[in-house]
Symmetry: C2
Subunit: 309 residues, 2 copies
């Protein structure tokens, strides 16, 4: 297999035996007492202590899930919340995950026009060009927002090509309100998301992005909750790997992701809170939080096994 992101991801899915992406959404208030202290008395206004707790928690989660999942997704917002201190922790944890052999998605949803997109691509996807930051590891792929137009995506595509990285473009999000804008019916009968998918496919099928696996390093975010449109989007983007958020806490099940897979391939299912905060689920009452995380990953593997086999 080539070194392209798509091939590396498909290879890792086979090696780990599951198409699971664990979403790292560290929320201080939800952390286990064993990590962040008694939830009734912990002080969320202490940034340093909060970041330390998030760091310890995330490192342990990564250790637990690394043998079982190919990829993790860091939600940038929960790090940016701690301003530059949080951003530094984000890059450190991306590196930790990478050193554990996990592929990493930076869920940054950036998007802007022209050269500004280029600056975002430099920050979040390219290896840092600065002498002092040579050691810093950036994610293998990032999520991007296509609102500004397809030309706004080009600088990200160039960076992805230059460094064998990947992109997941928002096509259909998992939130209830996505219907109002993304399912808007165009005069030609397509929905807005379908039109977007058709336009993206012209970029995704660029030979420089398509690996030996037949899949492209330009993937799409399609909410696992959006079953009504998944089949249509799958047909319009046949070479794109789908990143399917919304599993678990947001209500999606393995069965609901079926249409995103072709012969058991071509998609990753992302779950965040149902894994990270499994200790809050009564199903895992009496277990340590670490055992709850492990249990939740195994339960998700079982749920998806009928889809990918």
């Amino acid at each position: 297999m080539s070194d392209l992101f798509s091939d590396r991801l498909l290879d890792a899915i086979v090696q780990k035996g599951s198409p699971i992406c664990v979403g790292i959404d560290p929320i201080f208030d939800l952390l286990p007492d064993a990590v962040a202290g008694d939830s009734r008395t912990r002080n969320a206004n202490d940034a340093e202590a909060s970041i330390d707790a998030i760091f310890a928690f995330t490192t342990k989660v990564l250790e637990i899930v690394a043998p079982h999942v190919p990829i993790v997704k860091f939600q940038s917002a929960y790090f940016e919340k701690y301003l530059w201190e949080g951003v530094e922790a984000y890059y450190s944890l991306v590196q930790e995950a990478s050193e554990m052999g996990l592929l990493v998605i930076g869920d940054v949803k950036r998007g802007d026009i022209g050269s500004t997109s280029g600056a975002y691509a430099g920050a979040h996807l390219a290896p840092p060009m600065f002498d002092e930051m040579e050691e810093v590891v950036t994610p293998d792929a990032i999520t991007i927002n296509p609102f500004c137009g397809l030309d706004s995506i080009e600088p990200f595509v160039k960076t992805a090509k230059d460094y064998s990285k990947g992109l997941f473009v928002l096509v259909r999000t998992s939130n209830p309100g996505s219907v109002q804008l993304q399912d808007a019916k165009l005069e030609d009968g397509r929905t807005f998301s379908e039109m977007l998918a058709d336009n993206l496919n012209a970029i995704a099928t660029d030979a420089a992005l398509v690996g030996d696996s037949g899949y492209s390093s330009l993937g799409a975010v399609v909410g696992a909750t959006q079953t009504h449109t998944m089949e249509s989007l799958r047909k319009r983007l046949p070479k794109s790997i789908f990143l399917l958020p919304g599993y678990g806490t947001q209500g999606a099940t393995g069965e609901m992701t079926k249409a995103a897979f072709t012969d058991g391939k071509g998609a990753i299912v992302s779950a965040s809170r149902s894994i990270l905060y499994a200790h809050r689920d009564e199903k895992y009452a009496g277990k340590s939080w670490e055992d709850a995380v492990g249990g939740a990953v195994r339960a998700m593997q079982d749920d998806l096994s009928t889809i990918t086999r």
Copy 2:
């Protein structure tokens, strides 16, 4: 006038006598030699020296423009490029601008679903809640990306209400490729942007956002280059202040912004490179870079004076 962002902005426009927003897009390669050293030999791979030069340059630009313009807009991408070090510089410069009496927009174009948008609002718009970061100043307003849906905007709106801050929602961007997605024709005859504007207006006209001036703290980004649709969007969002990027280097003129104003009010025109890097324009040959910046601001004031008078 009330303390709402919209009232503060309209008041500042009157006080400064111009509806100009200076876009702070600091690009190391374009900085004047007097600030960053000989452009043929300067080292862009030295992050620390680059940030120092950007800091010195931006501070000086702010000093020059502060007497003449009500508001500046910091482009986050050009700071994120320097990872957490750049993010720290961003917040410091936001504070500098604020202390000079300028209103500040953080051009971050964030957008995500539900509680993740809440985390972004906490990072970029709310005053920091952390004991160690009490002094940190966040922008008076930020730009946000509505792609995920109107529900994804709600956490930003709540934060704007809680702290008398403002929002500029992307409605029609200034890049050539915006036409493909944003002008997509819906089956009811509206373009996608027009439909988005109609939906946003329901939020913008919320009494808690509308100031004594009659304008809302929920504004819209409409490219100054998009003359063909500006009149229609103005009608659909009568209470929203328009942020009009694209003036100068991207080709828009004062005349092209006319339809965004109502009786000379209700819009700010944003220029970045044509002001920041005016020293590269042969019109200002022989002048210091500081005089070039000042000259470019005054030329823009003149150009806009027929619109706002």
